[in-house]
Amino acid sequence: MIINTKWLEKYTEVPFSPAELEERLTSLGLESAVRKSPVDGLKGVVVAEVLDVQHHPNADRLSVCRVNIGAAELSIVCGAPNVAKGQKVPLALLGTTLPNGMTLKPTKIRGVCSEGMICAEDELGISDDHSGIMTLDNDAPVGMELSEYLERNGKTLDVDLTPNRPDCASHIGIAREVTLLTGKDLRIPAAPIEESDEPVGNYIDVEIENPVGCPRYAARVIRGVKIAPSPVWLAKALESIGLRSINNVVDAANFVLMETGHPLHTFDYRNVHGKKIVVRSAAEGEIVTTLDGSERKLTRNVLLICDAERPVAVAGIMGLANSEIMPETTDVLIESAYFDPGTIRKGSKYLGLQTDASYRFERGADPEGVIYALNRLTSLIVEVAGGKVCRGIIDRYPTPIIRSEISVRLKRIFGLLDIRIDPVWIRELFQKLGAQIVAADPEKIVLISPSFRPDLTREVDYIEEVVRVYGMSNIPSARRLQIQPIVDVHTRHDLVEKLRTTVCSYGYDEVFNNSLVCERWTTFGVHPAQPVKLKNPLSQDMAYLRNSLIPGMIAAAKRNINRKNDDLKLFEIGYIQESDPKSETLAKETQKLAVLISGELEEKNWAHSSTKSDIFVLKGVIEDLIARFGFSSAIFVSENNEYFRHLIGVVVDEKEFGYVGEIDPGYLKNDWDIETPIFVMELNVSVLTETMRPAVKYHELPVYPSIERDVSIWVPEKLSVGETTETIRKHGGEYLREVRFYDLYTGKSVDKLKKSFTFNLVFQANDRTLKDEEVDKAMAAIHDALTNELNAKLR
């Protein structure tokens, strides 16, 4: 809501500066901001009167003006086409710096001295208009600073209304709030009407077919108005809050809307056929053309105002072009109604059309304010456009809206706020709010809410009124807090955070990727699940919830690579969704950990050479995570998938844990235009967080020394390290503690064996120092097995 401070003063005394008003209204819950003007505080631009305009001797398009600034007469060269004798204009004096940055210096323009500049609006930063100089009202006092002069028209205040306060979408509503602060009176303008002898019933009848959508409809008819431009005060008032002046009748309706907050509509009576207004629901598919020129197809949810033959307005939202006020209009039908908020809301949403009227109706207009608003507009139209008012009002209000009594218990107020407030102050506050006090005793106040406050329906609503007017800062904060000891452990949260910090400690940077992705990304992955689709996406690029974290990770890598950040170690912990018709929310959500590496692993450093990313770096991450989260081991399974060059599935505790892989280079090139290898893993976090792991158990440290032996063998090409390790373990005897693979060599070949493995074996007994002979025996068994079972050859 836009408020003009000058306009506001019509309804109550406002003993605050605009800045104070902003602060005070904000403290009442009406978040306000004074609009800054570029001329605020500007000095050196004054109101000047143009005394005389002469042609410039040396230039056709320039003129030389003599202007009066009160203290002096100056000679000004001006290039504007609209400058004329007798105008009041803003004049920038020499030395002034204008809001656009220009500083005025004494200059000669084509040989004539100019002692200042008459300004256009763009030079003052007021608008972009450079078509001519700005002209001021004739009553502007010569010599006054322009900033001071413009201030006289009031400041503009933007009030950001919460949806519960439709009453404040008006100057009177805001003025009523001001009276809560000042204790001064609210002055509601009188609406004197001189009626003619012709009864309104001769001209119009109203029938409400849908009383749910339209509980009340009132109308008047004015005959013989003269449509003309609005008087200056009216046009200026509307302009001061950013509305365009149209003509006297339309402007009057807009003025009363902004004054009272009650939306009104004016019809050209000529085009209301059959002397009849019918309020009904639209037929499915009915088509109308609204005032803004748009053709709109309606549904049954839209309420229509019709004459005897056809629709003339979309109720509470917008009039139709067929009955709008025209320059030649002479008779006006005024509508003042109360429409059901939900009905208007549905219609407005369906049409995608929010207007000043629909905004107020859908939040709740004042059903008892219908007649005042009607009379106020009638009176104003007669004042600005003439005409004769037909006698009487048509007022259809079949079932008056009853407001029930509300009992507000003082104990409840004090209990909820933890403070005692003077009951007299509270009662007076409720009265100032417009409530009707039915009864009051030391325990409670029984009251009926004002009809313009649809938000006050319960006791707690009045407690809120007490808090906001009493002042939230005046309610002391508790100095001791109630704390509830927790016995339940935050297992899941703590485990997820442990996972996050552990992966971070491996040297990975955490990213947050968008959860909303394009359709193509949802086909990626090992077993892509049916994704969840949005009904109203921002764009097709964000039409699905992600069903894998990996495409988002590749996209993040892509952005980095484009910016020459080639060395990447990224991770994300986030949810993925898949369709699940059995779920209450139709979706199954799984928390995942994704990790991506590409490029060099270590930051380039003078002390060591770099390491390239590979799949085993990520496999190592998985192995370490499994150990840290208390699992004994994982099973790795080789898999095939079109998106991956190599893919290893991971199973833990017989549950699918995730996978690690190298993205297929062809897919990377074609779909992402990435030429560098990318390795990823995606794990199901809940496997780590939902299984209670046994507490860590300590193993006694060995007392007796261990014996280490190395074994190097040439092996067939297709023999895996895994199988070799198994064989060594199987034959290594009871004292073999560890088998560490530590070298893979493929330089030359021996007996057609092209690669070589080296293992480091650790032997140890718990109860004594092992003898070399015992280890020799075990080594011999290992050698035999490697040679005979695996066709390996000792190096």
């Binding site: 403290s27 009442l28 819950g29 919460t162 519960n164 939900g342 809301r345 949403k349 859908e362 209990g415 909820l416 706020l417 933890d418 403070i419 707690v460 609503d461 407690i463 809120e464 808090v467 939230m472 309610i475 002391p476 508790a478 100095r479 001791r480 807090l481 109630q482 704390i483 509830q484 000891p485 927790i486 935050h490 899941r492 949260h493 910090t501 971070c504 040297g507 940077d509 955490e510 947050f512 990727n513 968008n514 959860s515 969840v532 949005l534 109203n536 996406p537 921002l538 980095n560 910016r563 990447l568 990224l570 949810y575 969704q577 139709l586 979706a587 959500e589 270590e602 930051e603 003078w606």
Partner: protein, 338 residues
Amino acid sequence: MNLLERAEEVRLQLKNDLAQVGSDLPSVENFRIKFLGKKGIIPALFSEFATLSNDAKRQFGKTLNELKNEAEHAVNSLQERLNKQETDSEFFDFTLPGKTPSLGHLHPVTQTLNRITDIFREIGFQIEYGPEVETDYHNFQALNIPENHPARDMQDTFYIDDSIVLRTHTSPIQVRTMLKSKPPIRILAPGRVYRNEAINARSYCLFHQIEGLYVDEHVTFAELKGTIEYFAKRFFGKNVIIRFRPSFFPFTEPSAEVDVSCYLCGAKGCRVCKHTGWLEIMGCGMVDPAVFAEVGIDPEKYTGYAFGMGADRIALQKYGIDDIRLFFDGDVRFLKQF
């Protein structure tokens, strides 16, 4: 003078000479030769010692050995000192860059969420989660936001179908918790929430909210204020001023917005606080009786408060970031700053 007295004399001489010996190689060598050389003072004593009777040997042996050890120790330390001098004169480039440990970085929003979570956990709040895809009932209706209510305009919503939405706030977790447990309830609910808003520097289609709820007998507005002030001073610094402004949320009443004095400029006015001296940090209020009625908690017996804030927005303020899209871009040059 017997051997014992002479040995004592040599010990004194050794001490004297040691104090005066020069720190160059010839001086140290001369010192060594004087006391320990083949014809030095101490071997001379040992030669004499060899001529003694076994009884006398027993008497003097220990003393002589001690003297010898003392001299050897003195020579060793003199030689070490010489070695060290030599090393010290080699060029040592202390300006070589340190070998930085390569740790990763947690996302700034994670860090903000963790800090908030820690502060509230210290006063007994327990973490709860809820789904990102929510029913209209949990996200809106149970929170006193009926269909066709203008309050729905406060949150532009993504729909899956007519009754399923992407949650627009973490408040449905309140509803789920109150439906499944009885007061006292004291929870903190972090999570990703979605808004159908155009993406630009100021807004993104999702962000991370964290929400608190406390329901018990005698929970008051004063308690809410005290709790929020505790949090704000812990999070933003003990000198910040906290301001409560009346506001409106359908699920709380009375409702308030909370501002803290701008901790970046000391409330003098800066770009981040838009020269107002205040930063808006959260919304809060007393749980609306309509919400209690919906979840089956007796509003006459119990009261409660709720609060919620956007971790992304707080992180933007705290680090002076002016484009929220940076949080979701994954640029490592950005991430490594936190």
